[in-house]
């Protein structure tokens, strides 16, 4: 029971895990704000969004577990897989709260910006997944789309407020953009998993989202006084299971209870 598990690496399951794991790890990072938000109201907002993402994760992991045929449930998939068997975007593992454990970088501007970049991406993705040839995925997407829309608006408002706020807030937002931007390349990478998903009608290839994403992001950036940075040559590889140095620490914290008390419920 404490042994690690992994799903079969079929393109279909792989495609779903990339989305599920991105939502899960982003939710975990957002949840680090619980009790630490700049004001009580925003603290609740951040954790509400984390819970939305957690709901999306649960539905996708459950579905991926069924497709895989090993009958692993959502908890097993979240808590018993090893680092190399997670396929989230590297972006979401990066620290985004200054005092978060093992992570010196990041502050509220990183949180706001990351949430905005990612929600804009997820919104486009869910929009297309709502027409998936997989009825279960289409159902999950239709519900998630409403949540992503709100996340995008809420985070976009904050991007505008910080960018258009004081010199200090604008400088912090620019610094956060400098840290996040290189990791956004991975959102639009393309490989066999994308190809198979596009061919079967399961969902869009990532590169198909690039143009609409840039447009949505540029619109808010213009209001925030931010310029869209040029593309960077660096491409992160979280979606291939090769992660940054932060991932192991995150998983250790996230999985320790299930690894120590297997099957524990509370």
């Amino acid at each position: 029971m404490t042994t690690s598990i992994a799903l079969e690496r079929t393109p279909r399951v792989q495609y779903l895990l990339r989305i599920a794991d991105t939502c899960l790890i982003h939710a975990q990072r957002l949840a680090e704000w619980c009790g630490h938000g700049p004001v009580l109201e925003e603290d609740i907002a951040l954790t509400n969004m984390a819970l939305d993402l957690m709901g999306q994760t649960r539905a996708l992991l459950t579905h991926a577990g069924r497709l895989d045929g090993n009958a692993f449930d959502e908890d097993q998939l979240a808590f018993l897989r090893d680092e190399r068997d997670f396929f989230n975007l590297t972006l979401v593992e990066q620290p985004m709260r200054r005092s978060s454990a093992h992570a010196p970088g990041g502050d509220f501007a990183d949180t706001v910006l990351r949430n905005f970049l990612l929600a804009s991406w997820l919104q486009l993705l869910w929009q297309q997944l709502a027409d998936s040839s997989d009825a279960e995925v289409a159902g999950i997407a239709a519900k998630a789309l409403k949540e992503a829309r709100y996340h995008q608006q809420h985070a976009g408002d904050w991007v505008q407020r910080l960018g258009d706020g004081t010199e200090e807030s604008a400088a912090r937002l620019r610094a956060a953009l400098g840290r996040a931007w290189p990791y956004t390349q991975e959102m639009f990478e393309h490989d066999g998993v994308d190809e198979a998903a596009a061919a079967s009608g399961l969902g869009p290839a990532r590169q198909a989202l690039r143009e609409a994403w840039q447009q949505a992001v540029a619109e808010v950036f213009a209001a925030a006084g931010l310029a869209l940075p040029a593309a960077t040559p660096f491409v992160s590889t979280g979606t291939l299971g090769r992660h940054s140095e932060h991932m192991g620490f995150m998983l250790a914290e996230m999985q320790v209870l299930q690894r120590t008390h297997p099957g524990g419920r509370w």
Binding site: V39, L40, E41, E42, I44, A45, N48, Q153, H154, D157, R161
Partner: protein, 96 residues
Amino acid sequence: MSTEREWPLWEVFVRPKAGLDHKHCGSLHATDAAMAVQLAREVYTRRQEGTSVWVVKSSDITASDPGDKAMYFDPMEDKVYRHPTFYELPDSVNHM
């Protein structure tokens, strides 16, 4: 303490469902009206409490003076004839 650095206070009104009135349910801090609506959604409708939200700056509300309570409200105590139930209706208007 440093009240000038604190965000203004807003009163939140939530309509539970179409056809019902917006009801006061609490207050929150926000920098402006747009943020107040979003945060009201976060803080006061997390458990499906609402279908619509109003926010009003607390400083824009004019309230009656508690010191006026006796003069304002006590005189109504003995005016039972202002309630419809005070009147006996003829049988012919049974179903009012």
